[in-house]
Structures are given as structure tokens and as C-alpha cells.
Chain length 135, copies 4
Amino acid sequence: MSTATTRLRVRFKETDQMGVVHHSEYPVWLEVARIEWLRDRGLSYRELEDSGISLAVSELEVTYRAAARFDDLLEVTTMLSESRSRRFTFDYRISRPADAVVIATATTRHVPTDRTGRAVRMPDDWLSALSVRVA
Amino acid sequence: MSTATTRLRVRFKETDQMGVVHHSEYPVWLEVARIEWLRDRGLSYRELEDSGISLAVSELEVTYRAAARFDDLLEVTTMLSESRSRRFTFDYRISRPADAVVIATATTRHVPTDRTGRAVRMPDDWLSALSVRVA
Amino acid sequence: MSTATTRLRVRFKETDQMGVVHHSEYPVWLEVARIEWLRDRGLSYRELEDSGISLAVSELEVTYRAAARFDDLLEVTTMLSESRSRRFTFDYRISRPADAVVIATATTRHVPTDRTGRAVRMPDDWLSALSVRVA
Amino acid sequence: MSTATTRLRVRFKETDQMGVVHHSEYPVWLEVARIEWLRDRGLSYRELEDSGISLAVSELEVTYRAAARFDDLLEVTTMLSESRSRRFTFDYRISRPADAVVIATATTRHVPTDRTGRAVRMPDDWLSALSVRVA
């Protein structure tokens, strides 16, 4: 119930000369998946940004388990694992359904900030939408 | 006199699975070179941006002549080829000094815009600095 | 009949500090759209690459008409406009259906190359699939 | 003695609409710094890649401490913190000398792999060059 699944097709641009996806592309996918997780709960990250609040990334951890390749269809499963007024943690699993391989697992921690980068409290409607999910 | 030369080393991330630099990385290098061209003339693009004006790209043309590879040392030669109050054109040549190969030639056209994206006139000090160069 | 339409949602990562999509992201979208155009015709670019042939980009032209923003849903319409055994040209229009705005128009030219970067003739099945479309 | 310092200027492309560098750009800088660390010790990552061996990233951890901005001059200090025949760990500190702010700290873990992605033993000259550094 607190998870969302996002499907992605690997872009040619995301590969490097090793013939696999470059490791720095994974955080971009995590961000796409996180924003879809929010959208599923009626929360528009675009509107939050327009109101002057961002969910800044304070920590990133990725464990790379198998290579992803150009044109692969991947699934990112996103789960909110911690929710406080000034700190949120998401866990992710990136997998390739075609052969049931787990490509990577990851965690991102976030701090709500205003446009000057100062930590702020989340808007109440966001807090209530987010807090329900972890309990 | 109206040219500047910027040196770059190709990053591993800039390659793709063909084993060469992906074509979408070239505009990033052109931007780095353009900003160095401005810096050479005492113009800080960071300050222009902070004042609310951007040199939005309105047109991009790149001709790819030879592949660039990871770890190559490249030179981007930048030249202002047109300068009006509301339109600027830069020409570029990307080369690899080690074997005197021309990697690409390119042109970018720019329109000064404010934060809403509306075309604006450049600040006078920028105009005078830029206009001298083409004459 | 020789066109394909690809839908994309703008990623947060694709924006820059002007608050709009960075101009270097457009070639990445064109590539995604071109590969979908091929897929629509039963041509797998992944298989072509695996066989050692790439459609290297020899020229790129983009005209930027309106800004694209984070979370925008965009459509890329792709059309093969020239097809020879050793040269292919695609034209593109990127638009935002929500307000019927044309974001950009673009052209890419391609040369089939082998793994050493030498120009080669396309495989016959590719040639016949591609040649029909332009006539 | 086992550290290297790499200087970088933040590219405009590396910013996002929050007005700061996007968090997915940091791993790209770490890679640049790691390759410079190797170069300082006479090890060419380009040659290792050409020989068919890569230092695949198996884990990535980044702690984001302060925002980096367009045009900032940054320093990445790189340190080899673990060295075995089939596993290497690097620690990093990204700082901004102008105001002595630490931007981020990070760790990457690596496994030497061949072109099929299988874990392999490092070449002896690499092992001896790397093993000295940690002791």
C-alpha cells in the first residue's frame, strides 16, 4: 500500500562504453519513481516546487547488483520507509521483469527546504498524506 | 581577438556503448566554452543569471566530423560571429590537439530573456563588450 | 505513415537553473523517438547495435521555439525524410499537447558505421524497411 | 600520500531548477576524481578499459552537506581506503575552497570485471600500485 511501481525503458544515452547503464543514471530513475509515488497519492511535486518547497536529497545509497542494458524494460518499486515533519526516507528496488533480475536497491533521504536551502516544515496536507503511509 | 580556447578532458560518463562520446554531450561543452569566452572578456555569466537575464539558446547546429573518446584532451575554439541587442551567434570548433583532428564544428544562436522567458535587451555594459568583438 | 509519435514526461533532472529544460536534453529525446520510430517498423536498434552497426549522428539541428518545463507531457513526432544506403535523415517536432505549443523542431542526419567508426552499407532488411517509407 | 585533489568548475548543465547542482552529478565528479587519483599513480584507466577490465561500481554512498552552485570552483579529495585483489573502496570529500564549505562526502566500492561483467582479479602491476597505497 505504501509502494508504487514505475516502468522505465533504458535510453541509449544512459549507457557508457562498458556497454551497460552508467551508475550515475540510477539516481535519476529513483527521482522519476519517487515523483510517481507522490503522484499516486495525489501529491504533485511540481506544485510543491512552485510553492517554493523542495524535497532536497540529503543522502543517497545505491547497491548495484546486476547491469542494466540499453532498451531493457525496468521496474522501480518505491516505498516510503520513514516520515517525519523534517525528514523522509524512501527505499527502492530496481528490477528487470523479463528475467526477474534485481538490478539495484537504493535509499534516499530528504529534507524539505525553501528556496534559500533552509530546512522547513512540510505543508500540512503533504504531512498528513505522507504520515499515513508509514504507520 | 574575438576567439577563446577552452581545454576539456573527456569524462567517462560522456561515453556511450558505441565506445565514443554521445552526441548530446557536445552542446554541454559548447556552453562551457561560451561561458569561458565571456569570462575572458570580463563578463560573468553567473552575474548575468543572478540579475535575472539568460542567454537562452534559440538554435543549435552541430556537424560531427570525428569521434571523441574517453580521456581525450580536447580544445574548443569559440568565436562570436554575430552580435545585436537581441540576438547573438557563436561559432565553435572542437579539435583534438594530439592528432590535429577536428572533432566537430557548431553554431549556437541566443536570445537574451528575462525570468519569464520574454526576450529582453542586453544590459549596456554587456552590449558594449559584445559589440566591439564582432566589428 | 512514415511518422511515429512518442510521449515523454519531462524529468526533474532535465531542468536547469533557468527553471526550464536544458537545451542539451532535446537530442536525448530525439534519440528515444527515433528508436521508437524504428520499433514501430519492426526494426530493433538494440539488435542493430548488437550486430556491430550503429546509426552514428553526423549532423544535428534544433530550433528551440518554447520552453519545456518539469513534469510537462510532451509528444515527439518523428519522420524519416531522406533514406539512402549510407545516409538517413529524420525530422522531428516536439510539442506539448496540453496547450498545443510547439516546443522545438529538429533534424538529425545519420551514417551507418561499424565498430571502428567506418561508414558501412545498411543490412538489406533494414534498407528495404527504411526505403519504402520515404518514397 | 594516498590522496589526490581534483579541481572542477560547476557547469551550467549540472544545475537544476532548484538553482543548485543536481544530486546525480556528484557521482560523475567522483569518477573524474578517481580517474585522476589513478593517473597520479601512473595508472591509466583508459588503458585498463582498453585491456578489457573495468572497475565497476558496486556501491555508492553520498552525504549531501551544502549546495553547490553554477560556476563554483570545487575540490574533490580522493582517498583509497580499502584495497583487495577483487574489491576497492574510495572515500571522497567535495569542498569549495572559496568559503571552506564541505559540499559532500562520499564512498564508492568497486569490483574489477571483464567485458562480460564477471568479477576478475586485477592485473599485477595495478595490484601492486594500489596495495602500497592503503598499507
